[in-house]
């Protein structure tokens, strides 16, 4: 009878997960001060059941403090932490049932893999048999059966991390918190572990919050990403939303390379010098004559040798090729834009840009990237004059 029930249950088609009416983890209006310095200001977000949220920010942005506040290792100055509807703000860490995977993994050095994983159950005074069974299940889940009697120092970084995860899963945590989970690993291992963790999380269906400063990691790991800057959330959304529609200049430049150009709102469109760029603008946000910034990714730049641009592309201006470099998967071209005509928004007639590439900080130019086929079919020379168009862009208010 029991077996049959189980069978039926296993064959049930999993219902599409609706937006949970009750979120797994909520942070409500949290702020934090250390002495007189405010490190977090009014942080609020929800994590749904089974969801992975990435807190992305530079070091010192306060992202680790958010994690520590959820875990109960730090007290917020104001605000609440709610886990599955239960407010835990006043509870000590040990009563929260949160799983933290520390950057250093924090495995207990004098305990074997087995003992580490069983620790949560041992201190909960569970029966020996139950502990053994749970540990066995988890060892299978994280594929460390043959390492069960080893000490943490005998394991690789990736294996240690899996032990750390299994150790928290043993007591069925409300949420998993990963503090810079791949910080100490090399690039190859990182990529592999990212995939492994995603798979694992899908299997166990526990909500997770990741902390990272690595934008690539954030985009790959997160169902949603929250970009943290100086103690506040700049934007929260799916990786696609955040990458294609950055809400602020910070988000635009922090997530990948971005070109920024100043323009004016004119006749329900944009004007860059004398060039008109058609754009659908929110009339409330962007008033006629307002200064704005056009943000576009290097891969959204189209370089044409003729005046002709394809439909759907917005012609910017002519430009001179300043530098061409080959960066593995694509070609990177630095272009000096020739702006025809001056508008009142250009701060000193220089074209502003910010990207994550070091050489572009001081030059008045934009960066374009071209995939290999395009690069080899239309070869460019340094000093050549071309026409530049952009295929997609975001408009942000100018500061």
């Amino acid at each position: 009878m029991k077996a049959k029930e189980k069978l039926i249950e296993e064959h049930k088609v999993p219902a599409p997960t609706p937006i949970a009416p009750q979120s797994a983890t909520s942070v409500v209006g949290v702020s934090k001060r250390f002495g007189k310095t405010s490190v977090l200001e009014n942080i609020s977000f929800d994590v749904a059941e089974g969801e992975a949220l990435v807190l992305l920010g530079a070091s010192g942005s306060g992202k680790t403090t958010i994690l520590r506040i959820i875990a109960g290792l730090e007290q917020p100055y104001t605000g609440k932490v709610i886990l599955h509807g239960r407010e835990v703000t006043e509870l000590p860490a040990r009563e929260r049932g949160v799983g933290v995977i520390f950057q250093s993994y924090a495995l207990f050095p004098k305990m074997t893999v087995e003992k580490n994983i069983g620790y949560g159950l041992r201190i909960r005074k569970r029966k020996r048999r139950e502990i053994r069974e749970t540990v066995n299940e988890l060892l299978t889940l994280v594929q460390l059966e043959e390492h069960r009697n080893k000490y943490p120092s005998q394991l690789s970084g990736g294996q240690q991390q899996r032990v750390a995860i299994a150790r928290t899963l043993a007591y069925k945590p409300e949420v998993l918190l990963f503090d810079e989970p791949f910080g100490a690993l090399d690039t190859q291992t990182r990529k592999r572990l990212r995939r492994e963790i995603r798979e694992l999380l899908r299997k166990v269906n526990v909500p997770a919050i990741f902390i990272t400063h690595d934008q690539e990691e954030a985009l790959e790991l997160g169902d949603r990403v929250a970009v943290i800057n100086k103690g506040h959330i700049e934007q929260i959304g799916t990786p696609f939303e955040i990458y294609t529609h950055p809400a602020t200049e910070y988000v635009a430049t922090f997530l990948g390379a971005a070109n920024l150009l100043e323009a004016v709102v004119r006749n329900s469109g944009l004007e860059f010098g004398k060039t008109r760029i058609a754009a659908e603008l929110d009339r409330e946000r962007f008033k006629e004559g307002a200064c704005v910034k056009i943000v576009f990714r290097p891969e959204d730049v189209f370089i044409s040798k003729s005046e002709f641009v394809k439909p759907g592309q917005h012609k910017l201006s002519s430009a001179v090729v300043e530098e061409i470099s080959f960066v593995g998967a694509y070609e990177r071209v630095r272009l000096r834009l020739e702006k025809n005509g001056r508008d009142e928004c250009a701060t000193d007639d220089q074209f502003f840009l910010t990207t994550d590439t070091p050489e572009s900080q001081s030059v008045k130019s934009i960066i374009a990237t071209r995939p290999k086929p395009e690069a080899s079919s239309t070869r460019l020379r340094v000093g050549e004059r071309v026409v530049v168009a952009i295929t997609s862009f975001t408009v942000l208010p100018s500061k």
């Binding site: 875990a71 799983g99 207990f108 305990m111 201190i123 928290t168 007591y171």
Partner: protein, 271 residues
Amino acid sequence: MRHVRGFDVVRPLSIGMLVFMMMPLVFLPLASIFIFGTSNGLDKFWAALTAPEAVFALKLSMATSFWATMFNVLFGLFAAYVLSRYNFWGRNALIVTISLPTAIPTAVAGFALLLLWGPYGTLGRFLAPQGIQVMFTAGAIILANIFVTFPLAFGVIKPVFDTMSRSLEEASATIGATRWQTFWYVTLPSLRGAIVSGALLTFARAVGEFGSTILVSGNLAGHTQTAPLYIFAKFNEGQIEAANAIAIVLALFSFLIFSVLFFARDWLDVD
């Protein structure tokens, strides 16, 4: 100096010089204990060793050192925990005070204890009328041992506490452990090596203590005479063999302790 290819003359020369310098300073004095002690035959050596007063002196030394070690390890553990976990006003002053007894001459330490606990001492004068006599007992020897070995265990344990990653304890807390469970299951095992070596150091030092012990114990043979005091007393009486037998035991004992410390380092430091 001429240089032969692949042969550095300075190497054997400096090693030889080192050994030569250590000869009269360390090796020969130690060797002479064994040479003299056994020169009259092993029977006499054995007889000197098993003399009731000698056996008593060795036992007393072991017992008093044991209790002093127990106390100082527990205290050192506690002090190291408090002083590395909490930052407070006067913290450095406390650290210096704990470490101070090493710098105080042992005779001064013994004298200080006499001035406090002696029959006319600051505290002793109130205890004497109650019939409580602290000085000139085994208890006095333990007090003296505690005083002179006070910072040893602390000094070994504290650095381990300081370098111990806080995230281990935080991890234990988030997993659901109480402070006590965390201390017992996580912190203490990491301190195992430091505790063992701290205890051995303290014990070795306490067993050999002379300066303070001779002042506070009363040096009563068969009652409050420890092994080092016995050596001194027998030497004064001209019974060189009796003194020598115990000297051999004490020397061997310290070899043993330091071998353990040296060879067990790997085990003690296992991470």
